[in-house]
Each structure stands twice: as C-alpha cells, then as structure tokens.
C-alpha cells in the first residue's frame, strides 16, 4: 500500500496521521456522537469535492507552479454542462456529464497552461487573472441563477450509496458513491505520478527546471498536460458538487481555493515544486474535511475553524523544513 500510493514522496504523511489521530481523540472526548457512523460518513462525503480538486492541484504544485483558478473552472464547467444537458433534455447515464465537464475544464486548464508558457509570467499571477476572467465570463455570459432542475440521471447519482447502515435511533447512515470516484481518480493520479514518464517528468521539472530543459524534456507539453488535467479534475469536482447539493449553483465552491491548497500543502507537497504525493494529499484532504465539519459538533465556534486550518498549515510546512535542517549531518553539506 505504501509503495502504491508513493510514500517516498510523502515524507510528512506521519505528521498528518498524528494530527488526524489527535483530532479524533479530542473530538471524541468532547462529544461521543462524533465517532458514530453518520458523522464519519459525512466527513468522507465532504471530502469528495475538495479531494478531487486537490488531486489536480497536486500535479500543478509538483511541477513547480501554483493554480488558484480551479474553483472558477469547476463552477464554469459544471454550470455549462448542466445547461448543455438540460438544453438537449438529456436523460442518459451521468458519465456523459462528467465527460463534458472534464472536457470543458480541460480546455480552460489548457488555456492556463498556454498562457503560462507564452507569457512566462509567474503561475500565481496568471491563474489569479484567469480566476477572475473565468468567474466574470461565467456570471456575465452564462448565468447567475441557481438551476434546481438537474439532468435526469444526476438525481439517482445524488442518492446512490455504497453502504447504508441503520443507526440505533432509527435513522440511516449512508456512504455516498462519490467517494469511489475520488478513490478511483486518486489511484489513477498515483499511477500517473509514479509509473509514467509523464509523471516522472513532472517531478523532474519541479525539482530543477533548468536541468529538465537540458535533459531535453518537453517542458511545455508536460506543463500543458498538468494544467489541462487540473482543469479536468476541477470540472469533474464541479459536477459532483452539483449532484451533492442537487442544484447547479453559480456561487458554490468558489472560496474554497485556500482549503484545497491547504490540504495539498499539509499533505507534503512543496510550494517550491518537486515534492508531494497522492497519499499525503489524501490525508491532507481528510484532515481539512475533519476540521471543517467537526468543530461545530465538538462545540468549538466556527470562527476558530480558519485559525485551526492555519495552524495545521504552519505546522505542516514547518515540519519538513525542520527535519531537513536537523538531518543535515554530513559536514560537507553544512551551512
């Protein structure tokens, strides 16, 4: 399992695991309802959308870039997909919705990649600009209304569960099927990063861009691929989100950029590139979902939530730095 999910690139995973463990202990101590299945399933459910976006962002961070436009991509792809499918009165399988959203998202991501290659500007600047651009385009040209009528097959998807367990108080606890989508995509990204030349090239470019150029790696193509994939992931996440909230809301998702970024960074991806893995990201997502959805239950005011996330990011970022600092024992690498 370790090998499969790429623990070698995941050094700080243990930090995230310990944090998750500590939070569990703390939450259970405050409110024993926390450990019950309905709440556990709710945590998993709320990690699906940020998890899928985090996988895309992970690729971008490893390549040495950063992307903040993915939330706008997610909403724009989701909203247009719903409009297209409603327009033709589509009643077929939901896969088509995912494919259309992934295609639209992919195109928007490719646009990011192309701008970055052409303008040679910092990726943060470019994606900040496209964040606003995509957002403006969406609200101005496509629509600002919340669409309550989703394409026919999205409703059953919203209700599909993997397991459903009766709870003692007569209710039902269900695990949403979307979690399978997240796991499937995570496995695909793990394989991509660990075993394909494309994935290895992402690490190489993030580790030493100049060396990658000298080694003759097709940097532009890899970058286009990375931003394109990040866009597709965002598109898929958008559709899942619409299904979960049972509406196409133009104002959903936007604003979660930092949560997603936090998840990926806590999971061990370096902002400076070249480092990060799927397992770490997955754990980071769980940690964020845990904080997001559990503080209330634990009786901690929501205003504290941001503070907590901030503290975890700080610790998660400092820890690897401290570690490299303390393990530099070879005298020839001192200073």
């Amino acid at each position: 399992m370790k090998r499969i999910l790429g623990i070698a690139q995941d050094a700080p995973s243990s930090f995230v695991l310990v944090s998750i463990g500590a939070l569990y202990v703390a939450f259970i101590a405050r409110n024993s309802a926390f450990i019950e299945l309905p709440h556990q399933f709710a945590i998993l459910r709320s990690s699906i959308v940020i998890g899928i976006m985090a996988l895309g962002l992970l690729l971008v961070l490893i390549s040495g870039g950063i992307d903040v436009s993915f939330t706008a991509v997610a909403v724009l792809s989701m909203y247009s997909t719903v409009q297209i499918l409603n327009g033709v009165d589509y009643g077929g399988p939901i896969v088509v919705a995912f494919l259309i959203a992934a295609a639209i998202g992919g195109l928007l991501g490719l646009l990011n990649g192309a701008l970055i290659s052409l303008l040679r500007l910092p990726t943060l600047i470019v994606t900040l600009a496209t964040l606003t651009l995509f957002r403006g385009f969406m609200l101005f040209f496509i629509g600002t209304d919340r669409i309550r009528e989703l394409p026919a097959q999205m409703k059953p998807f919203a209700r599909s569960t993997i397991v459903s367990v009766a709870t003692p108080n007569g209710g039902k606890a269900s695990l949403h099927v979307g979690i399978l989508l997240l796991v499937g995509l995570a496995l695909a990204v793990a394989v991509l990063l660990r075993w394909t030349p494309f994935g290895r090239a992402i690490y190489a470019i993030g580790g030493n861009r100049q060396a990658a150029e000298r080694a003759g790696l097709p940097i532009r193509r890899v970058e286009l691929g990375v931003y394109g994939l990040a866009g597709s992931m965002a598109g898929i996440a958008g559709v899942v989100d619409a299904a979960l909230i049972r509406a196409a809301d133009p104002f959903t998702i936007v604003g979660t950029e930092l949560d997603v970024l936090a998840a990926v960074v806590i999971g061990g991806a370096a902002i400076t590139g070249g480092r990060g893995g799927v397992l770490g990201t997955f754990l980071g997502v769980i940690l964020i979902a845990l904080v997001d959805s559990s503080l209330v239950l634990a009786g901690i005011p929501t205003e504290w939530q941001k503070l907590f996330v901030g503290l975890f990011i700080l610790a998660g970022v400092m820890l690897p730095a401290l570690r490299t600092w303390s393990t530099r024992t070879d005298p020839r690498t001192i200073e």
């Binding site: 290895r200 690490y203 060396a211 005298p331």
Partner: protein, 502 residues
Amino acid sequence: MSAVLTVAEVSRSFGGVRALHNVSLAVEQGAVHCLVGENGSGKSTLTKIIAGVLSADAGTVAMAGHEPRSGVNPGLAIREGISVIYQDLALFPNLTVAENIAPCERTASLTPHWRWRSSAKRAAAAALEELGSAISPTTVVERLPTAERQLVAIARAMTRRPRMILMDEPTAALTHQEIDRLLALVRRLRDEHSMSFMFISHKLNEVLELADSVTVLRNGVVASEGPAADYTIERLSNDMTGRTISSARPTKAPTGREPRLTVTGLCVKGAVEDISFEAAEGEVIGIGGLLGSGRTELALSLCGLLKSSEGSVEIDGVALRPGHFQDAIKRGIAYVPEDRLTEGLFLDRSIRDNAAAAVASEHTSRLGALNRSALHATAEHWLGQLHVKTPDYNDAVNTLSGGNQQRVVLSKWLARRPRLLILNGPTVGVDVGSRHDIHETIRHLAKDGTTVIIASDDLPELLAVAHRVLVLSSGQLRHDILTGDLTVQALWEAISADSALS
C-alpha cells in the same frame, strides 16, 4: 581519422560581454580533446552551445552525419549522441540517484512502465560500479555530498554510451583515487568503444595525461591548439594567461611568535581522534589526507561548524565554545567552504553585495545605519585583489563563470581580515593564473600576521603555501612535516602510506 564534432567560427556575447569570438575546433572520433583556459575564458559557454542549451550568435556546431546547427535544442544534441556533464551538474535534487542516472524516459508518454524503478536501479548500480563508487541508487540526491553528486552526474553521462561526452570540470570535487578511476574509464571508453570526449579541467597535469589534442582559450578566442604532445604544463599556462607563471614556495616560517591557535586532544565522534597542535601568528598550516581521513571534519570542528566531543580549541589562549560557529566568527575566525555552489553565495544578488555580506556589521553605525560607500569600497578592494573578472560589480553572481564565483566567496571572507583563516580546497575550479594569485594572497596575509589553515587535496598547493603539513589518516594525526624542501612525491607517500595498510 575523421572529426566527430566540428565547431565552426562560433561567437557568443552576453549583453556587452564577449564570451566567445570566432572559436573553431574539431574533435576526432575516438579521441580526447581537452579545452583549457582561465576562469571566464568561455569554456562552459562553448560546452552549452555544443549541447544546444545556449544559442550561438554566429557560427555553427555539427556532429558527424548531422546538419550544422546554432540554435537552442538540447533534445536534438542528445539524439545526435552528445552527453554532457555540466559544471553545475544539473541534477534533480528531489529524485533518487537511480532516477537521475537512468530516468524513466525522456518523453512525456502516458503509458505506465511498471518496472522502471528496478531497471533504473540496476542501470544506476552498474554505472556507479564502473566508477568504483558505492553510492546507494535509492538515496535522494539532495542528501549526497558534493563529490558524490559529481559522480552521479558522471555516471549519468556515461550510462547512455553516447558518441561523445562533454565534461566540464568533472574532477573538480573528486579525490585522487576517484580521479584516477575516472581517467582510466575515459581511456577505456575511448580505446574500446571509440567514444570521443571534450574534457575541461584546470588541473593541467590531468589534461596532459589524458589529452590527444588541446585547445587553449583566452578571453573567448582560441589562443593556441594542437596535438597534446606539443604541450607542457608551462606552455599551457603561458598560453592561457599570456604570462609566465613560476612555481613559488612559501616565505620563511615565522619564528619566536606567540601561538595563535592551540588545539589539544580534539576529538569528533566517528571522524577525528585526539589531535593536538599549535599554529603561530603568521603561520600557514596545511592539512593533507585522503577522503575520509578526517581532513574536512578537522577543519569544520576548528571553526565550530562541527561539534567536537572532547578536547579544546584556543584562540590567543581563550577557548572557543565547541560547535558554535557564531562564537568562532566573533573571535576572528573565517571559514571558506569547499563547495561554493551550495554554500556561501546568494546567486541572484550582485557580486558586490555578496563580497560585502560578511562585513556588513562592521560598517554599521551604532544606530544601525549602513555606511554603504565604505562597505562597497572594502568589498571592491578584495574583489580587485582576487581579480574577479566582470564588467560590473552590480551584476548578479550567477552571471560569473564558475571559477570567478569561487573568488567571490574568498573575497567575502578575506574582507573580514580574519585572525585565523580556514580554507577548504581554496582553488578548486580556479585556473592556474588565479591559483597563483590566490596563493600569493595567502602568503601576503600570512606575512601580515594572519594564521592560515588550509585543507586541500592538491599537494603542490600545500607545498606552495604551507610551512607545515599535518597528515591525517583514519582520523589520527600521523605526521607533522615541515615543508622546507619536501617534494610532492614524498608528501604523497606520507599521505597514502597508512591508508595502504588499512
């Protein structure tokens, strides 16, 4: 014989700086062509143009059987059969040794290679074995010391069995043994596989030992060229510098001076055992020994970069706090590390700022105001002393050639006018002319009363500046030899004698 590589009238400038002008050369199939020249004479620039990493402003580069080219296209050069060992290595610090040496593939294909990891490990182990190195293929490169990174870069270039390898100062960070093995391997690949090499080094004896033909660059133009048999060390250095360089000896050892440094029973766990010696004001002491002899560790523990477990280091009779670099600096110790690229330089800051970095506090008034002009004057004085070659001290350090960067590191520490100067391989990657100048500077400093400790692999260097050489082996002090009229041969025997037994 036919030329495998032809460089025709290549020119290249950076801003106003002319790095290469009308340079032509040809490398024969199955031959070693050595390129020598002072720091900044354009060797690395030429290497990068041949590798397709830099474009030529004029002129072309052609591999036999391929079209002449002058643009940027590293992938094309690789496909034509060129491999390069860059002066700055160009490794991926975040990847393992195995993956650096035998990458998954140089494409961006999406087809998984389920077994690439094990095949990369095998290929890397085989390549490292050829170099006689025991580096583990699964180590992440950023954890390796410089010498081992150098070996990884060499192994990477060799493992592709290209038609031609460009080697830009591959031996700068290596020890004698490693160099011998590398040179033997180059000869074997040349003779058995008819591979061709362009080899760059400042170690002229190495050049003469290996070369079939030579090109000497001076200020970006070809100063002379010809078969290696026509060259001697003297001719090489004359052609490079345009002046005659004589081998000098240290000035007389000072007598009757107070000891400046007293080391008693110094131990560093796992590296150095029970070392005691004294160094007087104005004395230059060399530390010799093979890799792993404790040479570097001794130097590091003297300046507090490595914590000693026992014993004491006293400056002017007052003991230093072990393992406390800041304390050592306050007491007038300066340490110049051996690896300039990862240590001690802010690569994108200006040359002047780098040279001034260590003395900024001395030029700060009590209220915290920086006396900029005095600071710059000090920095420029030392940059001038060491002949740092640049059109403008405001340029970033990374526009300098490798050897000139090394001089900036030296200037930075000399500007502090230290009482005890500790140097580790001070002329690694520095050309003969500047090497001579740096030695001259060390002698001057000593005459003015600075005590100098110099750890070096370079025996002629130790003989040129040191009054005494301490020979270490397995962490113990084996000999304390006055250099007087010691020969390189005798010193080499002293250094290698004990290790032959162990």
